[in-house]
Symmetry: C2
DNA sequence: GTTAGCACTCTTTAAAGTTGAGTGCTAATA
DNA sequence: TATTAGCACTCAACTTTAAAGAGTGCTAAC
């Protein structure tokens, strides 16, 4: 027995209906609301076959059928025809409020949540490495100095330091020069003890200060390497009865709140294969996150420049509206492309 | 009929028991587990009185009693004796991970949530006004310039700008000087059109750039004036059955996620009256937030310097362990005081 | 190959009955 | 006069039973 065209059509109808209602779908429903013109009995026979093939199951003997993960998978892979999403003016909303990367990403999460009624996540871009572009010291007053550290890719970090000895303007300039000479263009691994010693030997009374600054630089590079995750619309999860069981809901919400497990999606998945925006669909157990075994996650990849990319994800029930979600994500990725190309925030 | 000592003792016993169990408390329980040595019948008589006085109610005729908001209020105001909390090494945890204000506050929220099993919120400090301390322009390359804006209180903001005309090193220095001459020490209201015109007339080809920078400064000051709110442990709410009703839970979690309504607690309440750390207890409707009418919120005030303060809040069920919460908060406020006094992050 | 028809299964919902915690009141007691 | 024992009463919560309804699988006819 194989999956012929008619079986495929029936499976599609079952899934579509289940996506809408969240209720098991019976043979009569399919018989009435498709143009196949088959009686419910015939549908029943076909359904029995589809069940044997593993695409659908009955929650209990006298109930309709619901799709299995395998069924959803087939649907997503072959049957779904993407719907171009109507959310067109997201971009204006984005530009209006967000003029910096972090805000922008947070805004993206928020907009998607508002538009889809699912939970959303956005990760910060992942860089391969981070080199020091330059360091700028400024004396704020006699005992305080401001250090601005600029990393490759124009990531800017600043820290205020307090010196024990009174600062001399010329010394600060010299220090600035020394730091830049030694550190410019270096990655964190390249800052070794020898280098630090050599640097310290040149700075006279400011050894303490230099130490602190070096620490700060290390921290800055480190934390820029970490992927941060923004989420939004977590409470949308509670809108779907099949996830609203107190224990499931707590687990899912807690995963969303803690965020660590979500970075998992950054590692996995292809990276932007063709113009499909690297869209990836994880169904149930495919998420590899235990608390999400009753959810599906759809992720897309955005790229801010060659090789530097992050992920946007939509988290909902397995019966999420895949077409709409994929459409919305493609749309959003397009908007992000525009923004990153034209006007770097 | 008035509230004599015995009634008070009984009320206290009822509330204590209810805080622990979350179940209505019957006369027999009180009779057995207090040292009053009274029969359940006597307790019943007293309970009837307490009900008439408005301190307790019965959820239904044949149930035990639970405290009313008025009952909780009396308890919090007069009967509660603060327990010094055992969470002593929070401070080390704090200092280890957090070297910047935002991180620190987020960390505070997280720690409190982990230690209390309630949801928590922390607001950023509220400043009365924000003056420009100085501005530092640096040319990154021929077309990009980095502006670092330092506000009073050492708030640092930075932005990268792209210039249409190629940048000349000396010009950037001049621009820097001009900006500082005109803007240093000014608040946002003081930057008027006349001033802007005058400034622009001095900068030759860089008018466009100056415009952008001024905009950025305005935005920076503005957003620093906004109070941000960090929350943590929102999912703890779901641990309490009386809040786990799907609708209540959604409303509360959604309030916590959106955060706007939470700033409400910053406005209200006394500001640090004596060494009680400005601890304030809002019970049920007292929160003035509709979704929280079944919750209590305990807030405390931290002060980073004279007159600049923010709030820390614990959000839980009405039957939250007030003593422990107040103790924990006082402890935490103490730790924060230490940190802000010794080592400004 | 398709379909009508029917017995069967199993969830869902409602109704009815049972239990038990806790009350209020009364009359007896210290 | 304050306290207590005792008892009838109430009501939510749980259990049991019954009925309804949706949907299936199978058989026999088309």
């Amino acid at each position: 027995m194989d999956l012929d065209d008619r079986k495929l059509k029936i499976l599609q109808a079952i899934i579509k209906n289940y996506l809408e209602t969240g209720e098991p779908v019976g043979s009569r429903t399919i018989s009435k609301y498709t143009d196949l013109n088959l009686s419910s009995a015939t549908i029943r026979n076909e359904m029995a076959d589809l069940e044997e093939l593993g695409y659908i199951v009955q929650p209990h003997t006298s109930a309709g059928r619901i799709p299995t993960d395998k069924g959803y998978r087939l649907y997503v892979d072959t049957m779904m025809q993407e719907k171009v999403d109507e959310v067109n003016n997201m971009r204006d909303d984005l530009l209006e409020k967000a003029d910096r990367m972090e805000n922008l990403l947070q805004q993206v999460a928020k907009l998607l949540a508002a538009n889809t009624n699912y939970a959303t996540m956005v990760t910060t871009p992942k860089y391969r490495s981070r080199k020091i572009k330059f360091i700028q010291l400024t004396d704020v007053d006699a005992y305080q100095v401001l250090a601005v550290i600029v990393l490759e890719g124009n990531i800017i970090k600043n820290r205020m330091f307090r010196s024990d000895v009174a600062l001399v303007k010329e010394d600060v300039l010299k220090l600035n020069l020394a730091l830049n000479t030694f550190l410019q263009g270096l990655d964190i691994e390249e800052i070794n003890i020898g280098l630090v010693q050599k640097l310290k030997s040149q700075v006279g009374a400011y050894q303490e200060l230099v130490s602190e600054i070096l620490d700060a630089i290390a921290t800055a590079i480190q934390e820029e390497g970490d992927i941060r995750v923004y989420t939004s619309g977590a409470t949308n999860i509670l809108k779907y009865p099949e996830l609203s069981d107190m224990n499931k809901a707590r687990d899912i919400l807690s995963t969303l709140e803690n965020k660590e497990e979500l970075t998992q999606f950054v590692e996995s998945g292809d990276i932007k294969p063709d113009e499909k925006r690297g869209i990836q669909v994880y169904i149930g157990d495919e998420t590899k996150v235990d608390s999400m075994k009753d959810c599906s996650v759809v992720t897309a990849t955005y790229e801010i420049e060659e090789g530097i990319y992050g992920k946007v994800g939509i988290i909902g029930p397995k019966r999420m509206d895949y077409e709409r979600v994929v459409g919305t994500l493609q749309n959003m990725m397009g908007q992000l492309d525009d923004i990153f190309k034209n006007k770097k925030p």
